[in-house]
Symmetry: C2
Subunit: 317 residues, 2 copies
């Protein structure tokens, strides 16, 4: 009936996602401490910050310093985000960044133009150039994202075929350039997915690329995040982008301003996996400690549930 994985990998995006969206710049000591706490939870993949324009995103200007100051735990990958070749060069120049290039595609042309001043088709061609650059620098493309895969606030419902067409492009491109097909990430960037749509999409992508690994990037904008994670798990998806404490989705930051939720919350998703008997390698209690510390940094209640209620192991006999 279902195809649950035995082990699920979480890619923690809280340290970037959570602080990049804030207007305020939080002290670097606290962000270092949060990453160091996350490093002891069993998480194997932590996105530390992003290499973007310090003028446009001053919150991320000290990303190289963050990389220099964190206490690395062997086996954990510390990654950064970049959006163009200039950012990639910065990441290469920074102190021991685990370079994990990703290709970025837009299922919505309007969204692509808004974000990049380029059509979705032009973005595709840019990914071809980037892939060659990464390959020539000796780096493996780890992931290919199709963003706004379920719907777009500018274009409405996105036909599944457009998403499949992007992934088809990825597969063809990898074949042409002689590199392995990366993990195919279906990204619900604007919170349009529901569990049945998630299952249909995963089934379609698997039909297209039966041997590819599929990942999900899920936003909890309209409260369906954890139901969408469950739907993806039931289809065998074993890698998710998530954010500790639901960082990035805090509706309380600023001055009473309520903001739409961001990434689905790491510890809630980990709790779901454990309750389903799926291993994650993550110590939920330690993760909750990190989530509570994140809440302390932000200085306002965050959206996670398990961080406030605790897990169930302490009650079990």
């Amino acid at each position: 009936m279902s195809d649950f994985p035995k082990f699920v990998e979480f890619r923690e995006e809280g340290p970037r996602e959570g602080f990049q969206v804030e207007k305020k710049i939080y002290p670097i000591e606290q962000r270092v401490e949060l990453i160091d706490m996350l490093s002891t939870t069993g998480l194997k993949h932590i996105q530390v910050g992003s290499f973007v324009s310090p003028e446009k995103v001053p919150q991320m200007a000290d990303t190289p310093e963050l990389f220099a100051r964190i206490r690395r735990v062997p086996g954990v990958r510390y990654t950064g985000l970049w959006l163009n070749d200039k950012g990639f060069r910065k990441a290469l120049a920074a102190d021991r960044v685990d370079i994990e290039p990703a290709l970025l595609f837009y299922a919505s042309d309007t969204f692509s133009r808004q974000n990049n001043n380029a059509s979705a088709a032009e973005m595709r061609e840019k990914q071809r150039v980037s892939l060659r650059l990464y390959r020539d620098e000796g780096h493996t493309v780890e992931a290919a994202y199709v963003m706004a895969a379920f719907g777009c606030n500018f274009e409405g419902v996105i036909p599944q075929e457009r998403v499949l067409d992007d992934f088809r492009f990825v597969i063809d491109l990898c074949g042409e350039e002689g590199v392995a097909v990366p993990t195919l990430f279906i990204a619900d960037t604007m919170g349009w997915a529901n569990p049945e749509a998630v299952k249909r999409m995963i089934g379609a992508v698997r039909g297209l690329a039966p041997s590819a690994r599929i990942g999900m990037h899920i936003h909890d904008t309209r409260g369906l995040g954890i139901a969408n994670v469950h739907a993806a798990l039931s289809m065998g998806v074993d890698v998710f982008d998530t954010s500790v404490a639901g960082l990035g989705g805090c509706p309380f930051a600023g001055h009473g301003h309520v903001r739409a939720a961001g990434n689905v919350c790491t510890e809630d998703a980990v709790f779901l996996c454990h309750e389903l008997g799926i291993q994650t390698g993550i110590d939920l209690d330690r993760l909750v400690e990190a989530a509570l510390y994140a809440e302390k940094i932000i200085g306002a209640p965050l959206m996670g549930r398990v961080m406030h209620s605790g897990g169930l192991d302490r009650f079990r006999r």
Copy 2:
């Protein structure tokens, strides 16, 4: 593959659940206004307050006045909660309460003793007495709840057989007393359920009582609430207790105190249904307005997601 219902009924508990758990007593004018707003959303079932001890629960002391002041919409049932015969008498004496008796069972003996100073077995026998009282007064028992059906903070995991045994008792009792079997509500009172456990439980209860209607009372304590709703929907469950804005689960009331979440949020669950093509008879935009008004009453951000992000219809073409 799945058995989604065509139409789902929501029983709104926010006006009681939300204000009963607060230390503060909110102005009755505001609570009347919230109920009046909810009355125009298409909700057909609104729990207005409870008939309990005004000394123990002063927040609910003005429940009779609430009933007297609300603006009734034809077709909407305005109900109250009571926990013993004295409360039932109060409900009968109050102004136009829609009397919907429920039988209450505890799957956890320790929880029953904590709540009622009576064992689970003693509570069963009390329900027999109550059922006769309701019948003799000419009222139909609408629901039978088994509480802590998935687990209990005092007793740990609850074996499914104990839940089935309670429902078996209900069915036998109704047979003996010559009344119809009410809706069988599976209540995850302490937030122990997960979607797979929900599906197994519903399957087992349906096996026991193939023709009975099954309802779910789901708490979002650990973030799995909406995933549990989806699981129940996929098993054909078509009636849920929910709470507008997630009222009762506000982690921000009081002074920075973070509290475990309560009932699953009505508008998030309604949104899920609509996205799945399931009708609810509810106007989501109006419900969001009521949720935002609830947030205004509480004076702090509430846990609902759709109330802060809005639905998707405005983006669709």
